[in-house]
């Protein structure tokens, strides 16, 4: 064991750093999915499409700005701007035109509708960006690399993945926790999540809260995609793999758990990248093995509370 560790320190270190960066991205998507489910009670399969479109939009905007010779820092503004545009436009459109018609219907129908939406958005994405890989790694290159000491070795790792991704994820976690606890709008969202009818009787317009929450959740997914775009090559299907992984995160954490989503993102992110380096043939199954292991012991998820009577 010690010998094996000695030979593989570098790999372990890389897996850890990669896992951390990856967990940050998964968290951004999973936390939005979680928030939307908590309020709207709809499992939105199309959430992954918003991640993909956010990524494509950010890459295109970044490439466009670079082609016009604008300074490098604009690239980072472009990431956020693209996410805000995608969330701010697609969010309300989807909520108003599609989701509003299926609130309170059977879950099977809701799943079918959001799955249909996912397929439509996937085609829209191919229509706009085609099937050729799109890539803009300017935001990654501009910050350069950092030498991370690891045991006797040094691992060169991009500053973007080391600082920017976990930094944004932490800020999102802290900001969201603060927003939900300390602001009136946040408390209104929590009230609707806890008990929609009681919240309505207290004067809360649940429909407005639905629109607001969905738009916000869509923005978080798009931001996840935008932040991921410099680290990867965008191809069709990226939305599907993201949504499946964030479902695993949400199920592992327990629905409605924001801090829990952060921890299970770490668990699954690091688990997955450990598999990539150490046992690549298991890369695809590791997140689900972690999920299944957790759910076998705690069916309500790591941090989920057994739901008491709701109605």
């Amino acid at each position: 064991m010690a010998e094996w560790l000695g030979q593989n320190t570098l790999l372990l270190g890389l897996a850890l750093l990669d896992g951390l960066a990856y967990a940050a991205l998964v968290f951004m998507v999973a936390v939005g999915l979680n928030l939307v489910f908590g309020v709207l009670r709809i499992i939105n399969i199309a959430h992954g499409s918003l991640f993909a479109i956010g990524g494509y939009a950010a890459a295109s905007l970044g490439l466009f700005l670079a082609a016009h010779g604008l300074p490098g820092w604009i690239q980072y503004v472009a990431l956020v701007l693209a996410a805000a545009l995608v969330g701010g436009i697609l969010g309300p459109v989807i909520e108003r035109l599609v989701l509003r018609r299926i609130y309170g219907h059977e879950q099977v129908l809701q799943l079918l509708v959001t799955f249909a939406l996912f397929m439509i958005l996937e085609d829209v994405q191919k229509l706009v960006w085609g099937v050729q890989p799109v890539t803009n790694d300017a935001p990654l290159r501009l910050l350069g690399t950092v030498d991370v000491p690891f045991g006797e070795d040094v691992i060169p790792f991009t500053a973007y993945q080391l600082f920017v991704l976990p930094g944004v994820a932490l800020a999102t976690l802290g900001g969201l926790a603060w927003f939900l606890r300390r602001t009136l709008t946040g408390r209104i969202i929590v009230a609707v999540t806890t008990d929609r009818e009681a919240a309505t009787a207290m004067g809360i317009d649940a429909r407005r809260v639905f629109l607001l929450t969905f738009t916000f959740g869509a923005g978080l997914a798009a931001l996840g995609g935008a932040l991921a775009s410099p680290t990867t090559t965008l191809v069709p299907g990226i939305g599907a793999s993201t949504i499946v992984l964030s479902f695993a995160v949400v199920a592992t954490a327990g629905l409605g758990q924001i801090e829990g989503a952060a921890i299970s993102s770490l668990l699954i992110g690091i688990g997955r990248s450990a598999a990539v380096y150490l046992a690549p043939e298991f890369e695809v199954v590791v997140p689900y093995l972690i999920m299944v292991a957790v759910l076998l012991v705690r069916p309500q998820g790591l941090f989920g509370v057994v739901e008491t009577r709701r109605v």
């Binding site: 009136l184 408390r187 209104i188 929590v190 009230a191 806890t194 008990d195 009818e197 009681a198 919240a199 309505t200 009787a201 207290m202 004067g203 809360i204 317009d205 649940a206 009577r309």
Partner: protein, 219 residues
């Protein structure tokens, strides 16, 4: 103040209320008595606008408000304490009490005034204020639910089975609180549901009996 006129309500295709008429005058204290499943909760939810009427009208202050969305009820001075309390467990008692007036957008001074008024009426709430609602006992929760209804219920409060499951001593305290409420704020109408008609007799001026979704006035 509050009136149902020939209201029929269906839930999943089954008539739960059939041509129900009921009147709660301004400042009046009215009991709605019925067995489990008779339609008491449905009646209150209909008054709150949480269920659509298939026929009939809901009147608030003499105006036809049948189609007024539920979340506008507090704006009309109607407070509601649902069955099972339905507090927001992760909030403190103070946050639970303040939420409806914050949502209404009342000025901070008015929010504080109402909170003080509720604390005066229900002194135990002042002690419970910093505690999480999830940690309250059933009886404490009922008091908080009453207080929360009173925060916006300047014209009427609807109390759904507040005595159910209360220990005798707590039930007595709750009844005393209702008497205090009536003396301190005589303009607030009170509609209470209950399955035991004897319990409410000293507290109300008028009783309606509901049976299988139909109401017959009984003095």
């Amino acid at each position: 103040m509050l009136e149902l006129a020939g209201v029929t309500v269906e839930i999943a295709g089954v008539s739960v209320l059939r041509a129900v008429s009921l009147h709660v005058p301004a400042g009046g204290r009215v009991a709605l008595i019925g067995r489990n499943g008779a339609g008491k909760t449905t009646t209150l939810r209909t008054l709150m606008g949480l269920l659509p009427c298939r026929a009939g009208r809901v009147l608030i202050g003499g105006e036809d408000e049948t189609h007024l969305p539920a979340h506008h009820r507090p704006r009309h001075g109607i407070g509601y304490a649902p069955e099972d309390r339905r507090l927001f467990g992760s909030f403190t008692v103070r946050e639970n009490l303040l939420l409806p007036v914050q949502v209404l957008g009342l000025p901070a001074a008015e929010q504080a005034r109402r909170l003080d008024a509720v604390f005066t009426l229900l002194p135990e709430l002042a002690e419970l204020a910093p505690r999480r609602a999830a940690g309250l006992s059933g009886g404490q929760g009922k008091m908080v639910a009453l207080g929360r209804a009173l925060m916006v219920g300047t014209r009427a409060v609807l109390l759904d089975e507040p005595f159910q499951g209360l220990a005798p001593a707590l039930a007595l305290r709750y009844a005393e609180a209702l008497s205090r409420l009536h003396h301190a704020l005589p303009e607030v109408a009170i509609l209470i549901t209950e399955s035991n008609p004897e319990l409410l007799r000293p507290l109300v001026e008028r009783t309606f009996v509901i049976e299988r979704g139909e109401i017959a006035p009984a003095g």
